[in-house]
Amino acid sequence: MTTETLPEQRASDSRAGVHLRNYFERVRGGELGALPAVFGLVVLCVIFSVLRPAFLSAINFANLFTQGAAVTVIAMGLVFVLLLGEIDLSAGFASGVCAAVLAVLLTLEGWPWYLAVLAAMLTGVLIGLALGSLVAKLGIPSFVVTLAAFLAFQGVVLLLVKNGTNISIQDGTILAIANNNVPPLLGWAGAIVGVAAYAVIQITQARRRTGRGLVADPMSVIGFRVAALAAVAGVAVYVLNLERSSNAAIVSLKGVPIVVPLIVLLLIIWTFVLRRTAYGRHIYAVGGNAEAARRAGINVDRIRISAFVICSFMASVGGIIAASRANSVDPNTGGSNVLLFAVGAAVIGGTSLFGGRGRALDAVLGGAVVAVIENGMGLMGYSAGVKFAVTGSVLLLAASVDALSRKRAATGGRR
């Protein structure tokens, strides 16, 4: 079997049985992909549901998404910087600065929401340009550049919101982002369209490959994947469409929170960029071996700068979500643990701090772990000290599940 030569092998192997067997071999061989993070997530959810049945309620499920949205979005941007082996310590406060710009323009200057959002995003892009240029052109380590920015932005937020007060946001559109829901029917429609599109893309791709005589996933495997996606999406939409208001008479609360399609959209876009475009390929190349990338004619400086731009742009989106959720912006927006949680989310999801390994999905999975921990701990009712200590331990637990499952599966040779 394994001694087959290249040409022989190409068109063979297309039966599902072989494919599945190969899949399990690969899993045993250490190529685990998203499995350990998902497994860790499941363990956490089981623990919390046992300890606090409220964890499993529909309202809590909806809360989970809005609670984790900002960190997840920031983490998604950080993945780009981490893929290069760089770090952006300022992403948290960059989101704060952008949120503050939004709030100032919206509430104090009275701009319409779309212009204010545009300005906030532009701020993010400019921040990224500045950081990226300093790192790429001057060659200052990104840790130092972004540490300086971390301090400076903290000051900028303070100055923007005038020393410690906070600016309320009244604009309905902005408030809707983190607080409103998609109408139930639209939720179903979205899920169905999404799953169908996925199926179509998968099938045409496989067709095209077999047409060229290349190895492709067999239809049965594709069918399995589509079914799995449909099941997950269906259950999620169903639960989120349940009534979750505790007095439904006065206010009805149902539907998929608006942040969910937002995150899914961002996930699709960045996954597409990373996996299907030359630009994404170059990001991985620079992260894996910057010298090899340079020799291949890739403009390494430009890739570096662009990654910081994406990161800060996503931070601005995260800042807007945070502002919407808080109905206001204050000097702490984007502060405290936001940055560490965002980097932690990416790393827990499987992104390497050394560059070259990571996916947009990592941010979502890791963000989910962080959100579940925060959410679950919020139900436990511990005092401040105990809560910190337990949160740390739970995070460690989730990470060990991941590490141990990887270790069990890894073969001797590589780590």
Binding site: G164, N166, N179, S246, I250, R325, A326, S328, N332, G385
Partner: protein, 349 residues
């Protein structure tokens, strides 16, 4: 924001939805680092009061993180709280939480900090500007006692991101600014301490003293900052010669007062505040509509919020015993070792 009548109507609804037992009270404290009071005093007194009333409760701390603050609020409502009592981190998040609670038919109380533009049914607090005023007046008293002539006053403010720190500053600047303007006092360095961090406060004050060695009075916004300033003054043996203020009547602050290193602190009878708030919460949880003693005008929405307001008290050497008598600190923890003699001197015990 809605009117209070509306809110209480909803809370009765919620109570009638679960008629078998009294509702559950959720309390969100702001942090554990800006001040020791939240975890050491408020939590304790509130727990005692709720236990005594036989009401279910859940007290959590947001650790100064407003994302967590909202998460906790969500979780409490998820968990079936019918009364929510919050110490907001800022008015924006506070308002978001209160509005969400209201829409879920949960009754709300602003505890210690008023949420501007919010929809809380009640407000229980000390007057934070008053706290600052007491600090300013205390420093003036101490400087007068020392017969200081045109003293240079340094101000060590609380966290720049904490709105209460701004209120305190408004209070003491209200007292000090006229004196600066009249030339009676000289305005010295004036800096904020990020996150009320005592270590940073030490460095900041050391640099103030380097830049302006003749500082003759320090307005420190709480006891921790005061202690940081005192540690620096000690190196130059200036402790006791330069009066330092504080807040919170911590054991450390009171000991510093006994030792003569600190001139005053502000004591907020937290038990009274907690009891008043707990009383309201218990009543709401039982579906009653309690009456409040007074009201405060929300400057943002113009609404009159039914309120219970308590008075802070300035503590000097002679009045340290009041704090002990109140049971806020025990004689055992205060009068350790070398402080035993001082305690006797101050008439404690």
């Amino acid at each position: 924001g809605g009117e209070s009548g509306d809110t209480s109507a909803q809370s009765t609804d919620a109570a009638s939805a679960a008629p078998a037992k009294a509702g559950k009270v959720g309390v969100i404290l702001p942090d554990s680092k800006s001040s020791a009071r939240w975890e050491t005093a408020d939590r304790k007194y509130l727990e005692e009061a709720f236990k005594a009333a036989g009401v279910e409760y859940d007290i959590q701390n947001a650790q100064g993180d407003k994302t967590q603050f909202q998460t906790i609020a969500d979780q409490m409502i998820t968990d079936g709280a019918t009364v929510l009592m919050i110490v907001n981190l800022d008015s924006g998040t506070g308002k978001a939480v209160l509005d969400k609670a209201q829409s879920q038919g949960v009754a709300t109380i602003d505890y210690d900090r008023l949420t501007l533009g919010g929809s809380a049914s009640y407000y229980v607090s000390f007057d934070n500007t008053k706290v600052g005023t007491l600090q300013g007046e205390g420093l003036v008293k101490c400087l007068t006692d020392k017969k200081a002539d045109k003293p240079i006053v340094a101000e060590l403010n609380g966290s720049p991101t904490d709105n209460n720190a701004t209120l305190f500053k408004n209070g003491y600047d209200g007292v000090l600014q006229p004196k600066y303007d009249s030339g009676e006092y000289v305005k010295g360095p004036d800096q904020s301490v990020p996150e009320w961090d005592n270590t940073q406060a030490g460095t900041i004050f050391e640099q103030m003293l380097t830049q302006e060695p003749k500082i003759a009075g320090v307005l420190a916004a709480n006891d921790g900052l005061g202690n940081a300033a005192i540690a620096v003054l000690k190196k130059q043996k200036l402790n006791g010669k330069v009066p330092v203020t504080g807040q919170d009547a911590t054991v450390q602050g009171l000991q510093n007062i006994l030792a003569g290193d600190q001139c005053m602190t502000v004591y907020k009878a937290i038990k009274k505040e907690a009891d008043a708030a707990a009383q309201l919460a218990v009543a709401l949880a039982k579906g009653e509509k309690p009456a409040a003693s007074g009201s405060v005008k929300d400057t943002e929405s113009g609404r009159d919020v039914p309120s219970v307001l308590l008075d802070p008290q300035a503590i000097f050497f002679d009045s340290v015993k009041d704090v002990v008598a109140d049971g806020f600190v025990s004689k055992e923890e205060l009068c350790t070792g070398e402080f035993a003699a001082k305690c006797t001197e101050a008439g404690i015990g």
